[in-house]
Amino acid sequence: MSTAPFGNLYEAPGPRGVRRNRVLTVAVTVVMLAVAVLVYVRFDANQQWSAEKWLPLLRPDVWVTFILPGLFGTLKAAVAGIFLATVFGFVFAAARMSEHRWLRVPAAVVVEFFRAVPLLLLIFFAFFGSFVLIGTSISAFTAVVFGLTLYNGSVIAEIVRAGVQSLPKGQAEAAYAMGMRKGQVMRLVLLPQAIRTMMPAIVSQCVVLLKDSALGFIVGYDELVDRGLNGIAANFSNVIPAAIVIAAIFIAINVTLDKLAHWLHDNSGRRVRPGGEATPATAEPQPVEAL
């Protein structure tokens, strides 16, 4: 049996298959190299590979002036967004699971609304509309965090609700049978279990949120994309090198977070019940919305 993933989809190649695979490997490599060379040559014609465009990215002062402040801006928005979105998510999840109709229905409307509205519209609404609405202009940072909170908070609210509802009904029943009150059941029995199941999905959502903070670029918030293109590229006219370095930073952070989500997923399975089979752990962590 092949050790390759999905190795059950094809036979282990025989002598002819091995030869054919070698030929195909070479062919694919040649095509990929051809594309790479084509891109290289085109970029080269615009001097995107020249040393004076790449060397600035190695200079400490460029990092201190542009990249690190940009990274700080991105992380500041992301951390504020994650904190507020989590608070928003727990509050609205609780409201949506309430027994009181007057609380449950409005919470559902709010959550569904903010999940359907593009984040950029929320940011524009806050940024360009704030002066008329509250009599003073808000900073780009506030507008970005406002949008990130409402959108991702709504998604987290759904993650929390799904987490609590995935618990066996007997958990709440047993707690009520012991005479616990509603708040106690939620706080002492349901949430501690649900949080373990939810953690991978919430961490995946943090990747989404971090990527979304790049929308700050559009309203001129000092984050990584803004510093890279309006800072570095404007000074050294090296759009492509700057964008490649910025993308690499984003990818490195997000891949790390993604690994954390998978690690949490693999380690969050509930323990085997005595005499029973393992309760199904969580589904594979999937970002709830693609962006």
């Binding site: 092949s2 390759a4 993933p5 999905f6 059950n8 989809l9 094809y10 036979e11 190649p13 695979n21 195909l24 490997t25 694919v28 490599t29 990929m32 891109v39 085109r42 970029f43 615009n46 995107q48 609304f113 359907a116 509205v117 593009p118 984040l119 950029l120 519209l121 524009f124 609404f125 360009f128 509309g129 002066f131 008329v132 609405l133 990747v207 990527k211 979304d212 903070s213 790049a214 929308l215 670029f217 559009i218 994309v225 293109l229 759009v239 492509i240 964008a243 910025i246 993308a247 984003f250 990818i251 997000n254 891949v255 993604d258 594979e284 999937q286 709830v288 919305e289 693609a290 962006l291």
Partner: protein
């Protein structure tokens, strides 16, 4: 409501652009995403490496940056031109960026769909002598698609909302028009925002319901 009524043609045109961007990118992403999935499960290690490398990069780069790459890198630097008309050219550049980004998510969804197909299905296909392409095309992918209808629906909804970011390559869709209208009709900020927001709710809500219905209809009985 006045501003929305006065400018109803602009609003309708903005949403028409959103719909067009969504529709074309959806087709592109499904095709490219399926191709990437096939590469990721193929017997050739090099294809698997290329596809999974691509998916990792595309999924973890902010869409804003992806679209800036298509505009500045592919458009300005590589000199790719789809049309002499600048607005048509920008439209296709936006499609390119949205497709490049979304197909990575389609690939992830489809791959998890393949995981739901019982091993016996592939083994049976191989035992009657089907090749890898035949196994994938006739046996595995049709079942995988049926298993991931709902996630594909979420990806499509996300794509609809993501078209607003096409403004960074100069496409005048809903977000651009909303910003303009907020500036012109400063006294009606809330009405303008709700008008555009409801537009997206109208676009996204039926999509979600439709995919839910479709998944029940197409569910594979096992």
């Amino acid at each position: 409501m006045n501003a929305l009524i006065l400018e109803r043609d602009t609003v309708i045109l903005a949403f028409w652009m959103t719909v067009r961007l969504t529709a074309v990118s959806t087709v592109g992403s499904l095709v490219l995403g399926t191709l990437l999935t096939a590469m990721r499960v193929s017997p050739l290690p090099i294809l698997r490496t290329v596809a999974s490398g691509y998916v990792t990069v595309a999924r973890n780069t902010p869409l804003t940056l992806v679209l800036l790459f298509t505009g500045l890198g592919v458009g300005a630097n590589l000199g790719v031109e789809f049309s002499d008309d600048i607005s048509v050219n920008n439209f296709w550049l936006a499609i390119l960026g949205l497709t490049a980004y979304t197909s990575a998510f389609v690939c992830e969804a489809l791959r998890s769909g393949i995981n739901t197909v019982p091993v016996g299905q592939a083994e049976a296909a191989r035992s009657i002598g089907l090749s890898f392409q035949q196994t994938l095309r006739l046996i595995i992918l049709p079942q995988a698609f049926r298993a991931v209808v709902v996630p594909l629906g979420s990806i499509l909804i996300a794509l609809t909302k993501n078209t607003t970011i096409a403004l960074v390559v100069g496409v005048a869709e809903a977000s651009v028009r909303m910003r303009e209208m907020i500036e012109v009709y400063g006294d009606q900020v809330i009405q303008v925002f709700f008008g555009f927001a409801v537009g997206f709710v109208i676009l996204c809500l039926p999509t979600g319901l439709f995919f839910g219905w479709l998944s029940r209809r197409l569910a594979v009985v096992r």
